[in-house]
């Protein structure tokens, strides 16, 4: 059972505290959904976890091994993969070369194509020419080929058509069902809660709710209150 455990994490940007004492966990086979209004600190939390920005304090552990002081590459090789928001494909490389960049020695490209068959037809196309949905599929598939223990995905639905978002959500659920631990930051709360197991709601850099997705799904008023406070 792979797992991510985060305890009392604090992250600052430019000396300004953004995340304060955040604690969460993600277990193998589960999707942990992180929700919150714009500016709540969701993206900063993921960036702190993956090492894009250094953490001020707290602990991050993958399968019991602490990684909070390691560089992003070390964290990735330890099994913590971060799919950034904004569909960060390597635009000049072909779709297949994008997939090869993160390819683990024991992994095969077929794993990516099995998850997203749409990419097979586009494997020779430069990634910069793919549609937004295809680019999002590509960055998720690319991270998957790195053999992650925990996959963190930031705002994968941003700017995409609802039908594509549904397709991506289904694929992410499938990954979790195969044993992957997924941390999903998402603006579309209803969709995320529909596929998630555990929910965290953030407000002003703090985790203000930690519970089951099903509980929040049944109580939209509570979710609204958690977003806005009061």
């Amino acid at each position: 059972m792979s797992s991510l455990v985060v305890s009392s994490l604090s992250v600052s940007r430019g000396g300004l505290p953004i995340i304060t004492e955040a604690s969460l966990s993600a277990a193998s086979g589960e999707i942990s959904v992180i929700l919150g209004a714009n500016g709540a600190g969701k993206t900063t939390l993921l960036e702190g976890l993956s090492g894009v920005i250094p953490v001020e304090g707290g602990m991050i552990a993958i399968d019991g091994a602490e990684i909070q002081s390691a560089r992003p590459g070390v964290r990735a090789r330890a099994g913590l993969l971060h799919v950034e928001q904004g569909r960060t494909v390597f635009r000049q490389l072909s779709t297949e070369d994008n997939l090869r960049v993160g390819l683990h020695a024991d992994e095969r490209l077929e794993t990516a194509y099995a998850l997203f068959p749409e990419l097979v037809q586009r494997k020779a196309v430069r990634a910069g020419l793919l549609s937004g949905g295809e680019q999002q599929m590509l960055v998720i598939a690319r991270a998957l080929l790195g053999r992650p223990k925990v996959l963190m995905i930031d705002e994968m639905s941003a700017g995409l058509a609802p039908v594509v978002v549904t397709r991506l959500m289904t694929a992410v659920r499938k990954l979790a069902d195969k044993g992957l631990a997924v941390v999903l930051v998402e603006q579309f709360a209803a969709l995320a809660l529909a596929i998630g197991n555990r929910a965290y709601v953030m407000r002003r850099g703090r985790v203000v709710y930690d519970g089951d997705c099903s509980t929040l799904r049944r109580a939209p008023d509570e979710l609204h209150r958690l977003y806005l406070g009061g």
């Binding site: 992003p72 590459g73 993969l81 390597f90 000049q92 490389l93 960049v101 993160g102 690319r142 790195g146």
Partner: protein, 289 residues
Amino acid sequence: MNELLTSAVAGLTAGGTYALLGVCAVFTYRLVAVVNFTGAAIGTAGTFVLIALYEAGFPLWPSVLAGVVAGTIVGVLVGLVMTTWFSEANASTKAAVTVALLVGMIAIGLRLTGGQHPHVMPDLFPGSAFRLAGVEVTIASALTIGLAVLFTVLADRFLNATRTGLHLRALSERPMAAELLGVRVQLLSVLVWAVTGTFTTFALMIIAPQRSPNFMTLSLLVVPALAAALVGLFRSFWITLAGGIMLGVVEGLASSFDGVSQYRGAIPFVVVVAVLLWSQREARWDDAR
């Protein structure tokens, strides 16, 4: 006519060096997104290690090896500065940092090597390689051009046919995205600096006997090198290679004309301005409309 040909062929040695330094500049720019003003200074540092050892009586080829190793180490040190503190800075900031490093390296280099004090620079490859239309082509000329072609071919093959090359291409586009996939970004970046340090040092050792071997003069060979890189628009290795050789040939030809000869050092600046104006022509046309 023969005099012109002689001058053009004489420019080949410089052209080969400009080409190699230019291709190294493109290599550094494409892979670690740095317009590197320290390229020639890194090679100059290694060259002066060779000169110091040679003047102290050490045998030639072990001194060459020590010089190349020293140039590689200086390249790695500059690379560590750039990757440790400026990896996420924009291209302008990185270029400005390398200009600052160049100034610092020249100041330290002049201090350590006695400024304009004349030095004995051994000719590594004396003699003639072959005759071209009745004009002797020196071994140094053939070697610098050969080295530039070799580096271009190797760089092209390495980037397009190896896994490390693929990682470098990814790193050049999005360093953080590459690192988040587990690519060893800092190690690869430093490797780029080490390789360019090795090649530029060896190239400068070949050309140094034909130049005034002082730290400033050799370090400022970065100007024609960047002019060559600009001809290739900092993307094409082969156009940069051709641009560097042409620059050397034009400089050589210019030395045949009395009225122009004294200004031939300005030719790289003319090329820089011409390429910049040409590359901006569409923007100017749009503005005019």
